[in-house]
């Protein structure tokens, strides 16, 4: 069983956190809206983005093979990992083979999914985050609270205090440029000294064997070019068919994510350093992770989760995420994408509860640049969580089932299909409302939300319309 409920309740009490998120999400929403002001263009581009990802998924096994073949041709070595443990072992092996002791990392959510840093630390290898946000939270021993802006839960003052405590010789300042400068000082030296670099992948192009990586700080480029060894990790859904598929997806990604027309850096990695080239790593490896994705792939509906380009727009627009923040989800992917992805990756027992952390308001569905039917998938996962069955495409189906709830729905269904029972219930509710206790069953929970108990009307609509003589057929 998970702990989203208690964690969310704790988070709600933290006024600072709530206002940090509110302010940040407001900013992101308005920046995105400004870049998609042209509704027709948005509709067209979004349909294109969805079709590119759907086409890639329709031929996923073939494209992955093609990607592997073309990467190999280019000198990029490809490794397959079914589980996060396997992926961690592969990376450790690559590092140990070169005697690497330090690893600089560009932002990679898959590496968060793998808990790679802790794993490497356990083997005496230092993994240093170089994305500014990731660097900040690593200093504070925290996990990311957002997939694009990992330190979004912190405000300027909190970062200033952290730097003055944790960075040697740093003075307290709230000047953003000065703070960035401090981090840069530390990181530049690390880039030069690191034995290896690790990055994520935004899109991997099957026909050319190209790894695309978007970023704003240049740290991604440094991680992938300065150290002699570059390891890229990606989930298997990141493959696209053709090079021309990339520009529309990048446009959707950066505009949805940060409201930028394009990021400062767009890296296209095709090979290790070639003879005669002055820079670039000696070795490039690509680790492709499954971790439950092929299980989702086997189901037509759940498969659509794999369309995700990890833009984070769904969390920026999520009223629940905005209130509780990212850490309450206790998952590498929080917010709506996390609510559909985590139960599929980790199973219903550990993460099924996340599918319930939504009012199904559809705000995420409205902004998802690849049209993932998030609300529909939430309902589907709730259904899987409530019903055990042998051939379910999720782990531990039925883990969320409560006998009392199942019985309640059965009774409700009987009542709502029996005209007499339904009308009787209406009459009883109205007649006995004044005598009802203030809080019992679901009403007790309703009142926990700082609300009074709803009052049943004396006469139901059925009764009023019958009295009025409104025809029944």
């Amino acid at each position: 069983m998970g702990n989203f409920g208690p964690a969310a309740r704790e988070a709600l009490k933290d006024g600072q956190l709530r206002s940090n998120f509110r302010r940040a999400m407001d900013g992101l929403m308005s920046k995105r809206a400004a870049l998609f002001a042209d509704q027709d263009e948005w509709t067209r581009l979004r349909a294109l983005g969805e079709s590119i990802k759907a086409r890639a998924l329709a031929q996923l096994p073939e494209l992955l093979e093609k990607l592997e073949a073309n990467c190999r041709k280019n000198g990029i070595q490809v490794h397959w990992a079914e589980t996060t443990a396997q992926a961690n072992d592969i990376i450790l092996g690559l590092l140990q083979k070169r005697g690497a002791k330090t690893l600089v990392k560009g932002k990679s959510m898959v590496s968060e999914e793998m808990h790679l840093n802790a794993f490497l630390e356990g083997h005496g290898i230092e993994a240093l985050e170089t994305d500014l946000g990731e660097y900040v939270i690593q200093l504070d021993h925290e996990a990311p609270s957002h997939i694009i802006m990992p330190a979004i839960h912190k405000n300027k003052q909190q970062i200033a205090r952290l730097f003055s405590e944790k960075i040697k010789e740093a003075q307290y300042t709230e000047d953003v440029d000065a703070l960035t400068g401090m981090a840069r000082q530390v990181l530049r030296r690390k880039f030069r000294e690191a034995d290896a670099g690790l990055s994520g992948v935004n899109f991997a192009v099957a026909e050319t064997g190209t790894l695309c990586l978007v970023e704003n700080e240049g740290n991604g480029r440094l991680c992938t070019t300065v150290p002699p060894l570059h390891i890229a990790v990606m989930g298997l859904e990141k493959v696209v068919e053709r090079l021309e598929d990339v520009p529309p997806l990048i446009s959707l990604l950066t505009r949805s994510a940060t409201g930028q027309p394009i990021t400062t850096y767009v890296n296209m990695i095709t090979s290790p350093r070639r003879p005669g080239e002055k820079d670039g790593p000696e070795e490039v490896h690509l680790v492709i992770l499954d971790n439950g994705r092929s299980r989702s792939y086997s189901d037509e509906q759940l498969r659509r989760t794999l369309q995700c380009i990890r833009c984070g727009a769904c969390m920026n627009h999520c009223p629940v995420y905005t209130r509780v923040g990212g850490h309450a989800y206790n998952a590498p992917y929080p917010g709506p994408i996390g609510k559909i992805l985590m139960p599929q990756i980790e199973g219903m027992e550990a993460k099924g509860e996340l599918a319930h952390a939504s009012s199904l308001c559809n705000a995420c569905v409205e902004v998802c640049p690849v049209k993932i039917p998030i609300a529909e998938l939430l309902v589907r996962l709730r259904t899987e969580g409530a019903h055990a069955r042998a051939d379910a495409p999720v782990l531990q189906p039925g883990a969320e089932r409560s006998t009392a709830e199942a019985l309640a729905w059965k009774m409700w269904s009987r009542m709502a299909t029996s005209p007499t029972a339904w009308k009787m219930a209406g009459t009883m509710a109205g007649t006995f409302d004044p005598l009802m206790p203030e809080a019992f069953g679901p009403l007790a929970d309703w009142k926990k939300g700082g609300r009074t108990r709803p009052r049943f009307a004396k006469k139901s609509l059925h009764r009023l319309l019958r009295d009025k003589g409104v025809p029944d057929a």
Binding site: L12, G426, D445, K447, G450, V470
Partner: protein, 256 residues
């Protein structure tokens, strides 16, 4: 938009009252029926109707929801439009019923039913082009859009268009009109604290408009917002701003 829905005025419509209106806000349903009848439409209210089935469906109990859905579909079998005074229930019946019956021999009947479902304000504006003569005092109101009316039924400007047709009514829009009020059906009891945090912000937004009345086309939202304001009032955190279904408001302003 309901795809195959005729936009000419029908002589007869079905009315689906929704369970929340039935049990908690019957005046809203009665007013909607009054408005329709005043336009010379024969309104049929099958007395066997109950709930659209959304609560069970959303909680992951599709079998139970399907039984309830089938019951309504069988009951509303004539080829008349089904007018629904809730974007959320209309969304369930128009958009989710067909997927609930995927692969079922009953599907064609469900699809026929779903194509006839129309949300009340859409019907009043797009089909009836309802004329309204405002007989009320000048008043300032605000409007809360329900998530499902906007994002499932595609209700856009229709409710505001109706309010604009009332000469003495001034509409002060919410700052975050498109944000969920935190109701979400069973979400409100599964995660009451998060739901409350959302309701709290919605109530603050409503108060900031200075409106005397908050209107909506969905009674689930009104119940959430209203009971939150009552609790606030009990603890002297602010007074209750009257919450009303738009049908009831339209009827009150134009009748008498």
């Amino acid at each position: 938009m309901s795809g195959s829905m005729a936009t000419t005025k029908p002589s007869t419509v079905y009315f689906f009252g929704t369970c929340i209106i039935d049990l908690v806000y019957p005046q809203a349903g009665l007013s909607a029926v009054n408005l329709l009848e005043r336009e010379g439409i024969r309104v049929v209210f099958p007395q066997g109707q109950s709930c659209c089935g959304q609560p069970a469906y959303n909680c992951g109990y599709p079998d139970e929801a399907r039984a309830v859905a089938r019951h309504q579909v069988e009951l509303f079998h004539q080829p008349w439009p089904v007018v629904v005074p809730s974007g959320s229930c209309a969304g369930m019946m128009a958009k989710h019923y067909p997927s609930l019956f995927k692969g079922d021999p009953f599907l064609p009947r469900v699809e026929n039913f779903s194509s006839r479902v129309i949300e009340l304000t859409q019907f009043l504006v797009n089909v009836l082009d309802l004329k309204l003569e405002d007989k009320g005092e000048p008043v300032k109101v605000t409007w809360h859009s329900s998530c499902h009316s906007m994002r499932e039924m595609g209700v856009g400007d229709e409710p505001k268009e109706l309010l604009r047709r009332l000469s003495n009514v001034e509409l002060q829009e919410l700052k975050r009109e498109r944000e969920c009020c935190g109701f979400g059906g069973t979400f409100s009891v599964r995660h009451p604290e998060i739901s409350a945090a959302m309701a709290e912000d919605k109530v603050a937004d409503i108060r900031a408009t200075g409106a005397k009345t908050v209107l909506s086309g969905d009674c689930g939202c009104l119940m959430n917002i209203g009971t939150r304001m009552e609790a606030d009032a009990k603890e002297a955190r602010g007074e209750v701003i009257d919450g009303k279904h738009i049908a009831e408001f339209l009827w009150e302003r134009t009748n008498g």
